[in-house]
Structure formats: structure tokens, C-alpha cells
Amino acid sequence: MKDESLEKSVEALRQGDTRAFDLIYERTNRAAYFTILYLVRDKMHAEDVLQETYLRAMRSLSQYRAGSNFTAWLCTIARSLALNHLKKNRREVSTDFQEDAYKYGTSEAEIPYLFDLAARILTPEEYEIVMLCQVAGYKRREVAKMLDIPIGTVTWRNNEALKKLKKHLEEDNA
């Protein structure tokens, strides 16, 4: 189930072929981005962390073990940088304000309510899968390959996530 062409491109980039970056980015950016957005919940900050993730990953490409899952490796870096970002932000911004960012309009790039709700009620795995399938438009087969998990697991988590979102939205509207 491994993404062979992605692995080949990583190897090519390691050998100095910078053209390979386009394919690597194309195949991995959504997974990394949603890993970040789940924690950061702000589009602009998530984009900053995404950029930092790729810079960090590309500069330490030699540390990636060829043949293991590149997307998973990238997402580990993304998660770590997103957590760092949150810690840094907590130190810099008043906690009260941050809690009520929507109320005070301090959220710089508000994400739509449904996405905020998803980040609050779904597990990281459910969130990642529902975003990749429903928002980024990947097929479940592609997501399974990307995350190196069985397609049945993708289907199950995707459905669970949609059910949870539906239930919460219905409760909100009631």
C-alpha cells in the first residue's frame, strides 16, 4: 500500500533533483496541513506552521528512513511544530482572549464553524480522515495509501466522523 512514486521523489530530492519537490508537496501537503489545523484552528497560523514544517523536513531529509512512511514522518514534524506554536502563542496572548477569540474578534483568520466544531469533537485520526476525504477531495483508497492504514479503517473513521458532526449540528439547531 506504500506510495512508491512519493518514495521515489523523496529519493530524487535527496539526490539533488529539486524538481521532485512539486510532487512531494502535492502528495503530502493536505495531510500535514490538517494535522496542524486540528491543533492550531486558524488558517493563517496553520499556513505558517505548514511552511515551517516543509522547511524543517527538507533541511533534515537525510534523517528520513527511506521506505518508511514519508507522510507520517512529515506529519510528526507538523504536529510537533504546531504544538510549539500553541505553547508560544499561549505565552504571548492573554488566555482569556484566546478562549473567546470569536467573541472578541481576535481570531485573525477564522475558520468556518463546522471546521472548528470538527476540531473540538473529533479524534485527531477522525479529523484528519474526514478532512482528507471530504474537504481535500481524496479518494478513500488514496487516503489509505497516504496514511498507510487499511481502506476499511478509512471508511469507518470517515463515517464515524460524519455521524458525530451530524449529531452535534442537529443538537445545535434544536
Binding site: N29, L55, R141, L162
Partner: protein, 398 residues
């Protein structure tokens, strides 16, 4: 559940990362700063140029409006338009049910896009007199708008094929050039002419299923598509999968535009069958993606929509960070075949009519401005007007 999916999808643009992130990363890493070089279908290359926009002086615009008001009733055929009569087109997607029909559709649609590219550039000369170039006078802004029309024009042949009455027909022919199988694919355009392409290929077995006395085979292909007198290497895949109440398919047809295979035009089928309570709903759309040097430069989603009993074709074209959406309906106007289109181009609402003529496409916009563009043509090289399918492979501008 479907509503949640739609909600998530509709907000995607607000949430997904901007394309500039990638460019920033590349710049930081020093990967590339040069302008991407695009490989054209005709084998040449072209550097991507960025659009410049200049505001037209208000006085100039006012003068144009005045000239149009006086001249348009004279210049434009059927200036005071009678109500167009919609035509009964057929949903071609419904005919795609197996590997054979998918590859036939892939070859027909990709072939028509490649043919349109050759015919669409350069843009044919614009009528003098009213001196109108699509909506605005000659300026950088009109050049930018014209670029949009050129993009739309590349899809006109596909739109014609999908809104025409007859089905896409595939006939088995002998394999050539070392390929075991051959298929001639023909469809009619909106002027009733037949357009055809030929596909030679080898099959790569994927799976087979025996159902009600018939064997249904799934296979991938490798071969070449002959369109507009040129040969394009192609690859295709047809693989379907059932998973509980939902089905998921991996269907693609790809025509390569250069030897390195980093530039290609790909069509994929996106379909989702979902059962909820007692009803089952299948949404099917076709996505055309163009890659240049391994980079995605254009993505177009094509789907049918049933509006008040009329069949319409919806195109969503994403290019250079912009998204244009157009809906086409085939009709007759003043005895001519036309396509009525409306949607958004560069964020602006537009409505226009495309007159389909042997000589080319004549675009007429709501404000009366017009623009003429090339259309594939089969009789440029010979004077006789026979309907020999092989001759139909030749198009204008080739």
C-alpha cells in the same frame, strides 16, 4: 449525511492552504525562481506570463458603450434575440458503464480537448468597425479577459460533444503499431458533423466478474491516441470497488504531451454511490487535469445538471489560483446552433451566447461585445466535403 459532506466541501476554499505557501517554501529553499516553461500540445514550449491589469479610463469605457449602443443592432446577428429553443441533448455519462465505454469516452473527450487547443490559438482576428474585444477595449485588462475566453474556448469542442444528441460510438478496429487492439471513437458535434479519433492499445488484466451470462472485465490500458493527425502515448486504468453500501472506483485516462511524461492531460471519474434510508444516490462527474512539467496547471470539473427538465453542462475551471464556473445549454437561435452560457469569470457574473459556425465560435456577451475564436475544422486541407472518418482526424491549425 450528504448535507454535512456538501457543507464541508463548500467551505473547502476558505480552509485549504493558499498556493503561495508552496511558492514561499520553494523560494526559502532556493529550489527554483525561474518562470515555469510549459510544453504545448504542438510540441513547442512557452513561458508562463503573469497577467497585468490596468484600469480603463472611464471616458474610454463610456465611449465604447455609446459606440456599441449604436452599432450592435447592425453588427450582431439577431441583435433583438428571440427566445432560444433548448435542444434535447443526452447525458453521455450515463452511457459509461464499463471499461470499454470509459476508455472510449476518455479518448473522445481528451482528443477533443487536444484538437481544440490547436484550433484555439492564435485567436482569430476581431471584427473591425465596432472594434470590440470581449467586453472591453484594447487594453491589458481586455487581454486578461480574452485569456479567459481562450481558456473557455479550449473546452468548447468537449461541450459540443457532451451536449450533442447522439451517443459516443466506439467501433473495434485492428490493432496497429504493435498494439493488439484498436478502437475508433466517433461522436457528433452540434452542427451534426462526425468527429473521430482512434485508440490503439494493449490490455492489462485487472479483474473479471461473471454476471447474468456475461463476463465483465476490468482492465488497464497502455497505447496511443491518434487525434488531429498526431499520436499521443496514453495510459488508462479501470478498477471498481464495492465497500458496503458505497462504491469507489479508480478510473483514469491519461494522454502524455511530452517524452518525459511530466506533462499530460488526465481525465478521472469521480463518483460516489450512497444509500441513505431507502434511496440510493449516485453523483458522477469527470475531472480533467493538466500537468506541465509535473506541476498541475489546470483542473476542470465537468458535470451534468438537470434544471427545469433541461440538461445543462457545468464546467468549473481552476487555473492560476482562480476558479471560473460556467453552465452551458444547447439551443437554436435565429436558425443557428448556439450555446448559452452563464456563470462567473474572474469573480464577475457573465452571460454570453456562443454561435457555433463552420468558420469558428462567435461569442456574444450581454453588453453586446463579441469575440471570434477558432474551432476545429475538418475540411481545411481538402476541398471535397466527404464524410470519410479518417479525414476527420485533420483539424484546422494543424
Amino acid at each position: 449525511m450528504k448535507d454535512i459532506k456538501k457543507l464541508l466541501k463548500s467551505e473547502a476554499k476558505r480552509v485549504l492552504p493558499d498556493e503561495k505557501v508552496k511558492e514561499n517554501i520553494k523560494q526559502e529553499l532556493g529550489y527554483t525562481a525561474e518562470l515555469p516553461v510549459l510544453a504545448r500540445a504542438d510540441g513547442g514550449t512557452e513561458t508562463v506570463k503573469h497577467k497585468k491589469k490596468v484600469l480603463i479610463p472611464a471616458i474610454g469605457a463610456a465611449a465604447i458603450v455609446l459606440i456599441l449602443a449604436i452599432l450592435l443592432p447592425i453588427v450582431i446577428p439577431g441583435g433583438t434575440s428571440p427566445i432560444p429553443v433548448p435542444l434535447p441533448g443526452g447525458n453521455k455519462f450515463a452511457e459509461i458503464t464499463d471499461a470499454d465505454s470509459f476508455y472510449a469516452y476518455g479518448a473522445a473527450s481528451v482528443g477533443s480537448l487536444l484538437a481544440s487547443e490547436s484550433a484555439a490559438s492564435p485567436v482569430s482576428s476581431v471584427e473591425s468597425g465596432a472594434v470590440v474585444l470581449f467586453m472591453k477595449s484594447v487594453s491589458d485588462e481586455s487581454a486578461a479577459e480574452e485569456k479567459h475566453v481562450e481558456t473557455v474556448n479550449r473546452y468548447m469542442s468537449l461541450v459540443e460533444g457532451l451536449l450533442s444528441e447522439n451517443a459516443i460510438e466506439a467501433t473495434a478496429v485492428a490493432g496497429e503499431d504493435g498494439y493488439e487492439y484498436g478502437m475508433q471513437i466517433a461522436y457528433t458535434d452540434l452542427l451534426g458533423d462526425t468527429v473521430s479519433y482512434t485508440l490503439y492499445f494493449n490490455k492489462i488484466f485487472v479483474s473479471s466478474e461473471f454476471d447474468e451470462g456475461e463476463t465483465e472485465e476490468e482492465y488497464a490500458i497502455e497505447g496511443e491516441l491518434i487525434a488531429e493527425g498526431r499520436s499521443y502515448p496514453v495510459r488508462g486504468n479501470y478498477e471498481t470497488e464495492q465497500d458496503g453500501g458505497e462504491s469507489e472506483n479508480e478510473l483514469y485516462f491519461r494522454a502524455y504531451l511530452d517524452e518525459s511524461e511530466r506533462s499530460y492531460l488526465e481525465i478521472t471519474q469521480e463518483s460516489e454511490t450512497e444509500s441513505e434510508h431507502t434511496s440510493t444516490e449516485t453523483e458522477k462527474e469527470y475531472v480533467y487535469t493538466r500537468y506541465e512539467n509535473g506541476r498541475r496547471v489546470e483542473r476542470t470539473v465537468v458535470e451534468y445538471e438537470q434544471e427545469d427538465g433541461e440538461l445543462e453542462l457545468k464546467l468549473s475551471i481552476e487555473r492560476e489560483g482562480e476558479r471560473d464556473e460556467l453552465q452551458f445549454e444547447s439551443a437554436r437561435l435565429n436558425g443557428e446552433s448556439v450555446l448559452i452560457a452563464e456563470g462567473t469569470l474572474s469573480g464577475e457574473r457573465v452571460r454570453f451566447t456562443v454561435y457555433i459556425r463552420e468558420s469558428g465560435y462567435h461569442y456574444v456577451f450581454e453588453d453586446g461585445s463579441y469575440s471570434d475564436h477558432g474551432r476545429y475544422d475538418d475540411d481545411d486541407d481538402d476541398d471535397d466535403d466527404d464524410d470519410d472518418l479518417d479525414d476527420r482526424r485533420r483539424f484546422a491549425g494543424v
